[in-house]
């Protein structure tokens, strides 16, 4: 797919705010009854007026800065006029000619290295209500509307058509999500928190817009389907028309909704109920509130902890994991100032910690659909496990077992190790087993003296089996050779 062009319009709910964009209704409605978090403003009752949530604008500016955008001197809300049953006022308060910020960029990792994706603009708008179509959108005889979502603050982030494959689109969204979570303006786990409209075209064709996809996986699938569909049309010399398509998540296909002729005329004009805003001067202050972002963190992890770049990348894709890693690494050096020479003083090797967190812990969490934050495997437990592993107190297999048990049932690593009999046998314990094995297998011992190499292996296996793998292989070998020679 070398001539695919994809642009994204990503709608991000600023769901960490306490209240909606234009009214004081609480944003905490996820598990609530329908229409219980509504007021005259977000229901669009006649006479109600919007007032802008200052923090929403601040969050928007932070995101814009994190995406290297330029915040405009004057920014205005506009009305985007169209009718739809989920839209309480018959228009959406959005932005148009004077968006919050423009001309940004974000890098993503591709198979051919790092790549810059240009951001066209970042603007603010309000979320419409949520609709339910019982029995499916095509068959339902009416829509059920819940206005709890109506008026939630959204940021719309629009890219240039710089993405060259569905996979790149997914990478972009993953990275964007991680940036938003770093900024603490967004919780991507909540339903409908990020929704994507995407434009896709092949060289020589008009673009199709696939609307309202709500998962990163969905975006990749929908775009792959759409790219293949367009390719097949081109191969058969059928012209691709500009149209809007709907992604049917269940069937994994896109369906035509309307063609260009049926396109809406949104009749944008400045929202007269909201005076213009001039907020560029806020950027200096807000810059200071922006934490270290993923790219910078990757560089620092490589430099400061000496971890491999792919590990650093994986650790930083989720800020909770990145913080977890740092806590684990710093545990043993907390009394020593943060200096390069300190590395030698660490009880836990950062590379080992990185590899355990990336290769084991993340997988176990994913398998259980758990987040590290709030999981029973707190940092101090992981520290304990990794220390015991480093000192040889437990085996790698033991460590995995302990991690699994804590994630499933909680508990203390030491107690689990004791209860389940984890840990190495000491040399004297192995010595007893070695003597026992030699005594019980005279035939094999004889074979050993006839220089049959396989005989030693057999005896080692016997000892290991008796110790349930807890004898140190080095001890077993040395002791066997010692007693066999004495024999």
């Amino acid at each position: 797919m070398n001539n695919v062009m994809i642009g994204l319009e990503v709608h991000v709910q600023l769901n960490k705010l306490k209240s909606k964009l234009f009214c004081g209704c609480s944003t905490d409605y996820q598990d609530e009854e329908p229409n219980t978090h509504t007021c005259p403003v977000c229901l669009g009752l006649p006479g109600a007026l919007p007032v802008v949530n200052r923090k929403a604008v601040e969050c928007g500016i932070k995101v814009a800065l994190a995406l290297n955008c330029e915040v405009l001197e004057q920014t205005l809300f506009y009305r985007k006029n169209y009718f739809y049953p989920d839209l309480p006022k018959g228009f959406q308060i959005s932005q148009y000619d004077f968006p919050l910020a423009v001309n940004g960029k974000m890098s993503i990792e591709t198979d051919r290295g790092e790549k810059i994706i240009r951001i066209n603009r970042v603007h603010m708008e309000e979320d419409p209500a949520r609709m339910i179509h019982e029995g499916g959108i095509q068959y339902s005889r009416h829509s059920l509307i819940d206005y709890n979502r109506s008026g939630m603050a959204l940021l719309e982030i629009v890219t240039e058509p710089d993405l060259k494959s569905p996979k790149e689109a997914r990478r972009f969204l993953d990275k964007l999500r991680s940036i938003l979570e770093y900024l603490d303006v967004f919780n991507g786990d909540l339903e409908g928190a990020m929704r994507v409209d995407s434009n896709i075209s092949l060289a020589g064709g008009d673009r199709a817009e696939v609307k309202n996809i709500s998962s990163h996986k969905g975006v990749e699938k929908a775009l792959s389907y759409e790219a293949t569909r367009q390719k097949n049309l081109l191969r058969r010399n059928i012209k691709i028309i500009q149209e809007t398509r709907h992604y049917d998540e269940e069937r994994g296909i896109t369906i035509s909704m309307r063609t260009k002729e049926g396109e809406e005329d949104y009749r944008y004009f400045p929202e007269p109920d909201l005076p213009p805003m001039s907020v560029k001067s806020w950027t200096e202050r807000l810059k200071d509130e922006i934490p270290e972002l993923p790219d910078a963190k990757i560089r620092r992890f490589v430099e400061e902890y000496g971890v491999k770049e792919n590990h650093a990348r994986s650790l930083t894709s989720d800020i909770e994991i990145a913080d977890y890693f740092e806590t684990v690494c710093k545990s043993s050096i907390c009394t020593i100032p943060r200096q390069k020479v300190v590395r030698r003083a660490r009880e836990i090797d950062p590379n080992m910690a990185a590899s355990w967190i990336v290769d084991v812990l993340k997988g176990e969490l994913n398998y259980r659909e758990m987040k590290i934050e709030g999981s029973p495997l707190t940092e101090d437990k992981t520290i304990k496990i990794l220390k015991d592993l480093s000192s040889g107190k437990i085996t790698e297999k033991n460590a995995v077992e302990i991690i699994r048990e804590i994630l499933d049932n909680g508990g203390d690593p030491e107690e689990i190790a004791r209860r389940r009999g984890f840990g190495r046998l000491d040399r004297s314990e192995t010595e007893i087993l070695v003597k026992k094995v030699i005594e019980e297998n005279p035939k094999v011992v004889e074979d050993y003296h006839k220089k049959k190499k396989r005989a030693l292996n057999f005896l080692v296996g016997k000892v290991m089996a008796l110790s349930k793998g807890k004898s140190a292989p080095k001890d077993v070998n040395e002791l066997l050779e010692k007693y066999l020679c004495e024999d």
């Binding site: 209240s19 219980t36 509504t38 829509s143 005329d265 805003m277 001039s278």
Partner: protein, 93 residues
Amino acid sequence: MMDEENLKQIARLAKIELKEEEVKEFSPQIRSILALFDEIDEVETEDVKPTFHVFGLKNVFREDAASPSLAGEDAIKNAPKKERGYIKGPKIM
């Protein structure tokens, strides 16, 4: 320009179903209102800024604090059709 076809197109955009006799009645009236609108064509406004707020007010915000929503049935009591706490809208497809 505003002929009957344009008028019907505008009515579709405004989601107002017009009867044939309304189209006949409105077309000439709307043309004369348009003539009134067109009077501002002759004003030179190249260097004039549009008035977005009459006294140049700007930067009006509220703080991010949650306040009580409508209580009980108040949110949906005016809805002509409802079901299990939802407001019932017409079908989409």
